[in-house]
Symmetry: C2
Amino acid sequence: MDRRQQKTRKAIFSALSNLLEQKRFECITVQEIIDEADIGRSTFYAHFETKDDLLKEMCTDIFHHIFAERLPQEADSDHMEGSANLELKLGHILYHLKENKCNLKGILEGESGELFLYFLKGYLCDLFIRYKDDFPCDIPEDFLLHHLAASFSEAVKWWMREDTRHSPEEVAAYYMAMIRTQNRK
Amino acid sequence: MDRRQQKTRKAIFSALSNLLEQKRFECITVQEIIDEADIGRSTFYAHFETKDDLLKEMCTDIFHHIFAERLPQEADSDHMEGSANLELKLGHILYHLKENKCNLKGILEGESGELFLYFLKGYLCDLFIRYKDDFPCDIPEDFLLHHLAASFSEAVKWWMREDTRHSPEEVAAYYMAMIRTQNRK
DNA sequence: AAATTACAGAACATAGTGTTCTTTATCATA
DNA sequence: TATGATAAAGAACACTATGTTCTGTAATTT
């Protein structure tokens, strides 16, 4: 990939990032992104088909970076009990999300919230399924998985709105306390 | 209020309702609403400032109808235990939402999802707070309330996506099973 | 029956989107 | 370092959607 392309791509991502600190995605125009990135109009459309396309690619980059590159390198904790392992990994996710806070603020609400949920489910699916045995067996599995993932996603949104005043570990602990059910088999 | 106004307002709501069965809100244009409602352009803007304004008013109407008119008329169950009472009321909400399914499909995801959450929180706040004693006290109260309300909201979305194949009672029971925590005081 | 009010329809200004073109600058590489 | 290839700048453009304004007509209220 040409240096110029990389530079432009970075400039566009960075511009959107900056703008997202001021206003929500829907209220940002392509022109503003172009001005902020200091590039030509045709250049933008040479890189991305639409504004939505840009958001999707940027989010994919961020989430892929977190879920596929950062998290797997961290200490494996498969020896732990399912619950403790889950809490640890959720804490790690929150830690990495905090690093990208400027990017994520105002993103998680919209369409890319679904994208986050998708990555989250993919990454945690096996853990959630292992943890599933702690829940009553008459709950449909897809409901359980959706509930666990979506609840965590909502916890993240709450945390972002609170300006991440609590530590990642705290939030992970709150979440675990909430989903630690009474009906153990 | 003039009969003509009421008629037009109804026609616009109905038009949006119909269109929402085919596509998501963001993809619907004002022109399509106008054509579907068979009214003049100026008439639309005499009633609503913007398309978002229309959505907001329509959702407010629906949710107000459910939360302020229908639900309070139903059998009071204050004598029940907090948990059973909550499950019953959640079931009622789901029942009334099902009646408006055509309207709500594709709505709850967007901005009006927040509106739903607002009504939900308002209606259930005292119940949730009463139920709060079942949770560990070291969880921040606003986290707890947000988690309970948002989780329920997510359960509704799941249910809508599943084309409401499960009964309201079932979904309410699933939800209650998920939030029935282990850590009773 | 008269005054008021809502509606239809058309025309308009405005703003944002996405495309196309030419010229200029930068890159890879032989 | 000369050269062919490629990316970017910038302007012009067509197109779509939004929201406003106006006039004449029809319905409603009193």
